[in-house]
């Protein structure tokens, strides 16, 4: 049950996955790979939320029984919307530069 896997392991996993996503955003050149890395980051935060909900004691009165889970659901929805918008933008940029390489998008300077 809840005492099988220590909470810390979930948190370390989420932190590691978040760092992987962050490094991915900074290092990857393909715009869609950057988008995937952002998704990894958002899902790491989701793992965090659900883990805290699962291992936390009594939820406060008036809060309902599932605050962490509901928040994670909302985050998934928002992440989906964000990806839809992001793909649209990448398409726009691709049509102008004929490349999905973020290093090439540098028409403005200063």
């Amino acid at each position: 049950m809840a005492s099988d896997i220590p909470l810390n392991w979930f948190l370390y996993f989420a932190a590691a996955s978040f760092s992987i996503g962050l490094v991915g955003v900074l290092v990857r050149r393909n715009a869609i790979a950057v988008l995937m890395a952002i998704e990894i980051m958002l899902n790491a935060a989701n793992v965090n939320l659900v883990a805290f909900w699962r291992y936390y004691g009594n939820p406060p009165p008036g809060a309902g029984p599932l605050p962490g889970v509901i928040l994670a659901l909302f985050v998934i929805t928002v992440a989906a919307a964000e990806v839809a918008v992001g793909i649209g933008m990448i398409l726009l940029c691709y049509r102008r530069w004929h490349a999905a390489d973020v290093d090439r998008y540098d028409s403005m300077s200063g």
Binding site: P61, A81, L92, C93
Partner: protein, 632 residues
């Protein structure tokens, strides 16, 4: 029915009236565009749908103003109610402000004032958008801009982390899309993509910090977080040695720092501001910044207040030191980078970054001052004045792009001779942004820096004085790049192949309104500053009093910060529903914790103001206790 949950009071929806009007109107605008698409050309559709959107904005303004009026009427009646209000509504509105929808949104003077402001800004931006055709998809554009404003209104009202995140994303995603709307220019798509990538990464960082904060306190409501952090033991150990807490705080600062364009999270601002069509930039620079600052003040000055400066060291464990450093770097970088800019919108972007730095000084002051609400109110005043001046400035940029296809500062050459009246208005705007009396910008800076100097904790005095000195020096530096605009207008001959045409009503009105606001609030700053200071009180102290029956509070044992040897307390979520007797004990303990927190908070100097408006929140727990007795 689950005894743990309180019922939603459906009369709370009345407070959402402006947001509902605008959301529905966005759909109306979309449908209208669909209906007109085959029958009208794009410029004609631009005007038709623009006026339709303005009609919706007027309706929303009526709703917001009407709501404030009804509240005022109902609360002022000592006996009897206004005849046209049903008795239950009259009783509902006569309660003092507080949180609605089970404590997720607030509904008080602050939200009323900010709603009106956001709707006014939306109206000006929509009017400005009708100036020229930068896109063909007018229905989508006006709908997105409207929905972004809905996100802003709800963001300024949110009292809880979930609502904060959702409304932040609503506003930001709509703004990402509208930034990329100018399909004929490559820079628009590039600005949009850069805004999007930076924004999504900072949202993810913010969300991670949010999840850690939820884990540390067990709740997402600002008031309950504050109680948890102020209590002793568990989550209330302060920031010293609390790695998880410090991480959560820094990550949330990253998220907010991106939204307000503070250094080093500012990289998106110049490109996004330059790439976006000028009306969209106006909305990003004014509405989005105002909403984000209000949210930042709510989170940092209300929820995370116990972590602001608990020790006696100069930059002790607490976020005051971090905000001070960020503020100093932001001011300096923004101003010096703006000196080198030749593009007008890019210069305004860097000026926007610098202004965020000034406002962070106000936030830092509000955290330690004994007059916290006054300091926060001065930040709000500065934001309002800055917002209207900026809308005027971006209207000038729109004019330049419309007629000359580029928006360099040199394109303003000779404007003084061509349209002297408008040039004088632009002069007023620039002087207000520099902070020269008697314009409103001067009073904004005066109030903010005065509040920063006007506090009584000796150990933070050095930090705040240093910040104020840096702010004043930076204001001098900023004069150089604003005056460059004036030099181009009045002392240069017009050049270039294209000439600036007549401005037309859509551009004249925002510039004129910006100048009028700068002049009027420069001569009479008093009323606005007192309104803003009154509005800041509920912003910083909203408890659940008034509308909601209960606010969620953490249970007795807060979650301990991460330590390798400890494992978490064994969880039994199945038994998480306390029986009614236990619920009574919970509430008794929660009331006790809140009373202790407010007593200890008022004893320490860095706390809420003790003057008359503060009596209202103290009444609120009493009224809440009454409501609970009635419920049980």
């Amino acid at each position: 029915m689950d005894p743990n949950l309180s019922n939603v009071d459906f009369r709370d929806f009345w407070h959402l009236a402006p947001a509902i009007v605008l959301s529905v109107w966005g759909l109306v605008v979309l449908l209208a565009d669909l209906a007109l698409a085959g029958r009208m050309s794009a410029p004609a559709r631009r005007r038709a749908i623009g006026w339709l959107t303005l009609a919706g904005v007027a309706l929303a303004l009526l709703a917001a103003a009407g709501l404030m009026q009804v509240q005022q009427l109902a609360q002022a009646e000592t006996q009897g109610t206004p005849g046209w209000l049903s008795p239950s509504l009259a009783e509902y509105f006569s309660r003092p402000g507080g949180s609605i929808f089970l404590g997720t949104l607030s509904a008080d003077l602050q939200t009323g004032v900010l709603n009106v402001l956001f709707i006014l800004m939306l109206g000006l931006v929509v009017w400005l958008s009708m100036a020229w055709s930068f896109t063909e998809d007018w229905g989508e554009y006006f709908a997105l801009v409207t929905w972004a404003t809905v996100g802003m209104m709800l963001l300024a009202a949110s009292e809880e982390l979930v609502t904060l995140f959702l409304t932040l994303e609503t506003m930001t995603i709509c703004l990402y899309l509208t930034t990329a709307f100018e399909k004929t220019r490559r820079r628009s798509a590039e600005g949009g993509l850069k805004y999007f990538v930076y924004g999504s990464v900072s949202s993810a960082l913010f969300l991670f910090g949010l999840s850690l904060l939820y884990g540390l306190t067990g709740t997402t409501q600002f008031e309950a977080i504050r109680t948890a952090l102020a209590s002793t033991g568990g989550a209330g150990t302060g920031l010293s040695g609390n790695v998880a807490g410090a991480t959560a705080l820094l990550l949330m600062l990253v998220g907010f720092g991106f939204k307000i364009a503070a250094v080093p999270f500012h990289q998106w601002a110049p490109d996004a501001y330059e790439g976006a069509p000028a009306p969209v930039t106006a909305l990003i620079a004014t509405g989005s910044k105002l909403a984000s600052f209000v949210a930042l003040m709510k989170v940092f000055l209300h929820a995370l207040q116990p972590w602001s400066h608990p020790s006696n060291e100069l930059l002790g464990p607490g976020w005051l030191g971090v905000i001070a450093i960020v503020s100093a770097v932001t001011m300096t970088y923004g101003n010096f980078a703006a000196l080198a800019q030749r593009n007008f919108k890019r210069m305004l972007a860097y000026s926007s970054i610098a202004n965020a730095g000034y406002m962070l000084v106000g936030v830092a002051a509000a955290s330690v001052s004994t007059r916290g609400a006054e300091a926060a109110g001065s930040v709000l005043f500065y934001l309002v004045v800055y917002a209207f001046a900026n809308i005027g400035a971006f209207a000038v940029a729109a004019w330049l792009v419309r007629d000359k296809k580029t928006d360099d500062i040199d394109d303003l050459n000779g404007l003084g001779m061509q349209s002297p009246l408008l040039a004088v208005c632009i002069l007023v705007l620039m002087l207000s942004l520099i902070g020269i009396p008697p314009f409103a910008g001067f009073f904004g800076k005066l109030y903010m820096f005065m509040e920063a100097l006007n506090q009584q904790r000796a150990e933070t005095r050095l930090t705040l004085m240093g910040l104020v000195a840096l702010g004043l020096m930076n204001s001098v530096v900023s004069a150089f790049y604003y005056v460059r605009v004036l030099k181009a207008m009045f002392f240069r001959e017009p050049g270039g192949s294209r000439r600036l045409g007549l401005a037309g009503r859509s551009i004249e009105i925002p510039i004129a309104i910006g100048a009028l606001v700068a002049i009027f609030f420069g001569i009479f700053p008093g009323p606005l500053i007192s309104v803003m200071q009154a509005a800041a009180v509920p912003m910083l102290t909203t408890s659940s009093g008034g509308f909601a029956a209960t606010v969620s509070a953490p249970s007795g044992t807060g979650y301990a910060p991460l330590l390798p040897a400890k494992t978490a307390a064994p969880a039994s979520p199945k038994s998480a529903r306390p029986e009614p007797e236990q619920a009574k004990r919970y509430e008794a303990r929660m009331k006790e914790a809140q009373a202790k927190a407010s007593a200890s908070a008022s004893a320490s100097p860095g706390a809420q103001p003790k003057n008359a408006p503060a009596a209202q929140p103290k009444n609120a727990p009493a009224k809440k206790a009454e409501a609970q007795e009635k419920d049980q």
